[in-house]
C-alpha cells in the first residue's frame, strides 16, 4: 500500500516536471506570428560585407519577402540564424510595409566566412531559406585591409567615393577587384606575393602594377594576400583535403 502510494506520487511529480518543462519550452517559442506569407526571400543589401572578428557589420542586412508574382509581402515572418558565434539583432521579425526586414549582423570571434541563414514560413507551413555570406577579418586580414586602403584600392576598386576617385578607368590593363575570387582564387599565394613584390611584369602582366617589394615588408605582403583570400567571392577554399570535418 505504502509502495503504491510512493509510486503514484513519483508519477505525479514526473508529470508535473514534464508539464513545467513543456510549458517553459512553449513560452520560449517565437512570440511573433506572421500576418502574411511569401514564396521567396531576396537580399536587398548588406551581403558580402567584412569587418573585424566579433564586430558588427557596418551596413545592416536588408531582406525582402516576395510572393509568387514577385510583389513584396508586408507582415511576413523572417528568422535569421548563424553558426560560429555570429548573430543577428533582431533574430526574427515581420517585414515592414515595404516588405523588407532589416537586422544588424555581428560576426563571430574567429576569422573566416560566416553564413547567415534566413528563413520564412510559407502559407503551406513549409519554410523558404536563403543564405547570405559575410566574412570576419582576423588581425592579419585586418592589417591587409588597411594596407589595401592605403596602397591598392585606388586602382583595384572601380567604385569612387567623395574622398577617393577610382583610377581604374585610367588604366589600359584593368586591375582585378580583390573580391574577384573567380580570377584570384586559382592564383597561388606565391604568385600573388610575387606580383605584389615585383609588379605585374613578374608574371608577364602589365607594368601598370608597380612593385611594392621595397615598400612593404614580407609580413605586410602576406597580410594583403590573406585579405584577398578573406574577401574572395566565391570564397577561397584552402588547398588540400579538409581533415577536420567536425
Amino acid at each position: 500500500m505504502k509502495r503504491t502510494g510512493m509510486r503514484a506520487s513519483f508519477l505525479v511529480l514526473c508529470a508535473a516536471l514534464l508539464t513545467v518543462s513543456a510549458c517553459t519550452r512553449h513560452s520560449g517559442a517565437p512570440g511573433v506570428t506572421p500576418r502574411a506569407f511569401g514564396t521567396a526571400l531576396v537580399s536587398v543589401s548588406g551581403e558580402k560585407q567584412f569587418a573585424g572578428v566579433g564586430s558588427q557589420l557596418e551596413q545592416p542586412l536588408v531582406l525582402q519577402v516576395n510572393d509568387a508574382k514577385g510583389v513584396a509581402v508586408a507582415g511576413a515572418l523572417v528568422r535569421l540564424s548563424a553558426a560560429g558565434g555570429a548573430f543577428a539583432t533582431p533574430r526574427e521579425g515581420l517585414t515592414g510595409p515595404d516588405g523588407q526586414f532589416t537586422a544588424t549582423i555581428t560576426l563571430g570571434g574567429a576569422g573566416g566566412h560566416y553564413q547567415i541563414v534566413a528563413s520564412s514560413p510559407t502559407a503551406s507551413g513549409q519554410q523558404i531559406f536563403m543564405r547570405v555570406d559575410e566574412s570576419a577579418l582576423g588581425y592579419q586580414e585586418m592589417l591587409g585591409a588597411k594596407l589595401n586602403e592605403i596602397h591598392c584600392i585606388r586602382c583595384h576598386d572601380p567604385e569612387s567615393t567623395a574622398e577617393r576617385v577610382s583610377n581604374m578607368d585610367n588604366l589600359t590593363a584593368k586591375p582585378h577587384a580583390f573580391t574577384d575570387g573567380a580570377v584570384l582564387n586559382p592564383m597561388s599565394a606565391a604568385d600573388l606575393t610575387s606580383i605584389i613584390s615585383h609588379g605585374g611584369v613578374a608574371v608577364n602582366k602589365s607594368a601598370e602594377m608597380p612593385p611594392y617589394g621595397s615598400m612593404l615588408t614580407k609580413q605586410e605582403i602576406a597580410a594583403l594576400v590573406a585579405f584577398l583570400r578573406a574577401v574572395a567571392d566565391p570564397p577561397y577554399l584552402a588547398q588540400g583535403v579538409n581533415y577536420a570535418s567536425n
Binding site: V53, T104, A162, A244
Partner: protein, 687 residues
C-alpha cells in the same frame, strides 16, 4: 529476515573480530584518498589532449604534429611580465601552421600576429585566467567573473597596453583613442598612458568668454537642447537638460560674456543682400576660396559635403551675428587667437559676398522665431550654478570660472576595474565591456542624477571607444618600460621671423606637417626647399593652382602680396632642406636629348608611370599622383632623382612606391621629367 537481523549480520561481517574491524577501517580511509587521483584523471585537459591525438591521427602531417605534441599540463612562465599561462595545455595546435583547415576550438592554430606566443603568453592580450586548468575556470562563463576571456570584438585593446603609438593593424583601437580625444572625453576624465603621460584632447572647444558678440541667447538655448539638430557632425554631446535649465544657462552665458574688441571694427558691417544673384556670387566665392576643404555643408540629399577641420556651416546663418561674421572673415585671430582658420585677406567686397551667402544658410525650424524674455538676475545666478555643476568649464573657457580638476572619475585603470565595485543597471550583462558600452550609450540609465551627457554614437564607434578604454589596465602600468612603444613626441617647431609670422597668419600648420608639427590634410613640406624651384614656389603662393585634379580639398588663395610671397619663398628655400643629399641640391645635372628619349621610354613602358601621372594631357589619364605636365619647372633634378630611388625617405607616407631604381634608369627618367617645362613661369618682382 527482519531489518534488525540484517543489520546485525552486516555488523558481524564488518566488525566481527579485530582483524575484520582493522580491514574495514583501512578500506574506509583509503576510499577518500582515491578521490584525488580519480578527479585528476577526469580533468578537462586529459580528454581534450586525447581528442587532439584522435584529430591528428591519419593526417599526412600526423608525424610532425605528434612530434610537437607534449602531454600533461603545459605552462608559459614569464616572470618579468607576470605571465603564468597554462592555456597551451588544451590549445595544443596553436603553433601548428599546417592545421589551418581546423576551425574548431581548442585546436585552431593561432592566426599570424607579430608577437610570439612564448614571449608574451596568452592572457596579456586575451585575458582569462592563465593558471586555470579547467575550461570553465580559464574562460569564465558564469556571471560576475573577474577575468573572463575578452570578446573578440575588443581584442585590439590588448595591443593598446604597450602600443601607445597608433598601429596600422589596430584600426579599432586607433579609432577609439581618436574618438576619446575628439569628443573631449579626456577633458573631464583623466586618462593616463602607462608611461604616466596624460591623454589630451584634439577637439578645440570654443571659448565662451565673448559669446554674446557671436550669437544670440535663442541660438544657445536651441543648441543646448540638441546640438546635433544644429549640426549632425557636432561633437558636443546632449546634456539632456530641462527647459528651465537651458533658459538659465543661456542667460548666464550671455551675461558673463565680455566684448572681444575694446572698440568697434573700423569698417562698417556689410548688409547682407537678399538678392539670389548676389547669394549665388557668394556661393561661387565660397567655392573658389576652397572653404569646403575644411567646412562641410549638407547638400540637398542630406549628405555632408566638405572637410571636418572647421565646424559644419549648414545652418550658420541661424547662429552668428552679421557684425561678428564680417569681423571673423576679416581676420579670425582677433576673435580667437588659436583658431585653425587662416587669415584670408579678403577685401570688403568679398567679405560682403561671403556674409551674404553664409547668412542665407538659415533654418528657422532650429531656433524658432520667439525672442527670449529678458533674463532675471535669479536666472543668471542659477545658470552659473548649473554651468559649474555640469562642468562646462572643463571644455570651454568661461569668464570667472576655472576649469575644474578631476571633474569626472579617472579612467586610467578603467580596463581592469573589478566587477565587485560596479553597479550594473538592470538588463546590462555583468561584464566589464558591456558595462562600459552601456555607460557610453545611455549614461542616465545608471541614475537620473548622473552628470555625464549622452553621445549619440553608432555601435561601431561605441565598440571602438570600449576597446580603447579596455586598454587602460592596471597591468599595463606594471609591465616593464622597455615593452612600451611610446607616442611620438609632438614637435613644437615654429618658424621664426617675418616668414614665421606670415605662416602663422595663414595657418600653414593647420593643414601641412612641417618638421613633425601640423595637420595631415595636405602634403608634408619639411623638405619643400629641396624639392621645388624658387620661381614656381613664389608663383604658387600667390596663386595656388592645383596639382591634383581629382582632389576635392585644395589649397586656398590667401591674397598675398609679391613681397610676402618672396619672404615666404626665401625662408622655405633656405630652411626646409633635406640634409641627406650628397652635394648641393642645386648641382647642375646635365642631360642630353638621348637621356630624355630613353627616359620617355622608361616612363611609359618599363615603369608605366602614366598609370598615376599625367604628362600629355591628350592621352595620359592617371590621377593618383600629381599632374607632371610642368614638372620640369616645378621640381629640382636632384629631388626627382632621389624620389625615384626611394620617395619614402623624402616624404614618409607618400603613395609613391619605393622603386629602388637603377641609377641609369633614374637619371634618364629625371632627364625626361625635367624636359617637361610647360608654359614659362613669370617671376614675381622681388621688392
Amino acid at each position: 529476515m527482519s531489518v534488525r537481523g540484517r543489520i546485525a549480520a552486516a555488523k558481524a561481517f564488518l566488525f566481527g573480530d579485530s582483524a575484520r574491524a582493522f580491514g574495514t577501517l583501512s578500506l574506509a580511509l583509503l576510499a577518500p584518498l582515491t578521490v584525488v587521483p580519480a578527479r585528476d584523471y577526469f580533468r578537462d585537459w586529459r580528454g581534450i589532449q586525447k581528442q587532439y591525438l584522435q584529430l591528428i591521427h591519419g593526417r599526412n602531417d600526423a608525424p610532425a604534429l605528434a612530434r610537437h605534441f607534449q602531454g600533461g599540463v603545459q605552462q608559459i612562465w614569464l616572470p618579468e611580465i607576470g605571465v603564468v599561462d597554462r592555456c597551451t595545455t588544451c590549445h595544443v595546435g596553436l603553433k601548428e601552421s599546417t592545421l589551418t583547415d581546423v576551425r574548431t576550438q581548442p585546436f585552431r592554430p593561432h592566426p599570424p600576429v607579430p608577437h610570439s606566443l612564448t614571449e608574451f603568453g596568452c592572457v596579456l592580450c586575451h585575458r582569462g585566467q592563465g593558471t586555470a586548468t579547467s575550461v570553465a575556470d580559464a574562460h569564465n562563463s558564469s556571471s560576475s567573473w573577474e577575468e573572463p576571456i575578452l570578446p573578440a570584438r575588443y581584442l585590439e585593446s590588448g595591443c593598446g597596453q604597450c602600443h601607445i603609438q597608433p598601429l596600422t593593424g589596430t584600426p579599432k583601437l586607433n579609432q577609439g583613442r581618436e574618438l576619446l580625444a575628439r569628443y573631449g572625453c579626456v577633458r573631464c576624465h583623466t586618462m593616463r598612458a602607462p608611461d604616466g603621460t596624460k591623454r589630451t584632447g584634439t577637439d578645440e572647444p570654443p571659448s565662451l568668454e565673448h559669446i554674446a558678440d557671436k550669437t544670440s541667447r535663442e541660438w544657445i538655448a536651441a543648441w543646448l537642447r540638441d546640438p546635433q539638430a544644429y549640426a549632425g557632425s557636432a561633437t558636443m554631446p546632449n546634456f539632456q537638460l530641462k527647459d528651465d535649465e537651458i533658459r538659465d544657462i543661456a542667460a548666464f552665458l550671455i551675461a558673463q560674456s565680455q566684448p572681444y574688441r575694446s572698440q568697434k571694427a573700423s569698417e562698417p558691417a556689410p548688409v547682407p543682400s537678399q538678392d539670389d544673384a548676389v547669394i549665388q556670387q557668394g556661393a561661387s566665392l565660397y567655392g573658389e576660396s576652397f572653404c569646403a576643404s575644411c567646412h562641410a555643408v549638407q547638400n540637398a540629399a542630406g549628405l555632408l559635403v566638405g572637410g571636418n577641420l572647421g565646424p559644419e556651416l549648414t545652418r550658420v546663418g541661424s547662429k552668428v551675428k552679421i557684425d561678428w561674421l564680417a569681423d571673423w572673415l576679416r581676420n579670425p585671430a582677433i576673435y580667437d587667437p588659436n583658431s585653425a582658420m587662416p587669415h584670408y585677406r579678403f577685401d570688403a567686397k568679398q567679405i560682403g559676398l561671403l556674409v551674404t551667402f553664409l547668412s542665407s544658410k538659415t533654418d528657422s525650424d532650429f531656433t524658432g522665431t520667439a525672442k527670449a524674455a529678458a533674463a532675471e538676475p535669479k536666472q543668471i545666478e542659477r545658470g552659473r550654478i548649473l554651468v559649474i555643476e555640469r562642468g562646462c568649464a572643463s571644455c570651454h573657457a568661461i569668464n570667472g570660472l576655472k576649469a575644474p580638476e578631476d571633474f569626472a572619475p579617472e579612467l586610467t585603470e578603467v580596463g581592469s576595474r573589478p566587477l565587485s565595485r560596479i553597479l550594473f543597471a538592470p538588463g546590462v550583462p555583468n561584464t566589464l565591456p558591456d558595462y562600459i558600452a552601456a555607460r557610453i550609450r545611455d549614461p542616465r540609465s545608471f541614475g537620473d542624477t548622473l552628470k555625464m551627457p549622452r553621445f549619440s554614437l553608432p555601435q561601431p564607434q561605441v565598440d571602438a571607444i570600449v576597446t580603447a578604454l579596455l586598454a587602460q589596465t592596471a597591468r599595463a602600468e606594471t609591465l616593464p618600460a622597455s615593452m612600451r612603444i611610446p607616442e611620438r613626441k609632438p614637435s613644437d617647431y615654429r618658424p621664426a621671423g617675418r616668414a614665421g609670422k606670415l605662416m602663422d597668419e595663414m595657418r600653414c600648420f593647420s593643414c601641412h606637417i612641417i618638421n613633425g608639427r601640423g595637420g595631415t590634410m595636405a602634403p608634408e613640406l619639411t623638405y619643400e626647399g629641396t624639392s621645388v624651384q624658387r620661381a614656381w614656389l613664389v608663383n604658387f603662393l600667390k596663386n595656388p593652382n592645383t596639382l591634383r585634379p581629382a582632389l576635392i580639398r585644395r589649397m586656398p588663395r590667401f591674397n598675398v602680396t609679391d613681397a610676402e610671397a618672396n619672404t615666404l619663398a626665401d625662408y622655405i628655400m633656405t630652411a626646409w632642406q633635406t640634409p641627406d643629399f650628397e652635394g648641393d641640391a642645386s648641382d647642375d645635372l646635365r642631360f642630353t636629348a638621348a637621356d630624355v628619349q630613353s627616359g620617355r621610354e622608361l616612363f611609359y613602358n618599363k615603369y608605366a608611370c602614366q598609370s598615376c601621372h599625367i604628362i600629355d594631357q591628350s592621352k595620359d589619364k592617371g590621377y593618383v599622383g600629381p599632374t607632371l605636365t610642368q614638372v620640369g619647372s616645378r621640381l629640382t633634378a636632384p629631388w626627382i632623382l632621389h624620389w625615384l630611388r626611394n620617395a619614402q625617405t623624402l616624404r614618409p607616407g607618400s603613395l609613391e612606391p619605393v622603386w629602388n631604381m637603377k641609377d641609369a634608369d633614374a637619371r634618364s627618367i629625371t632627364a625626361f621629367l625635367m624636359a617637361q617645362k610647360g608654359a614659362p613661369v613669370k617671376e614675381a618682382a622681388r621688392k
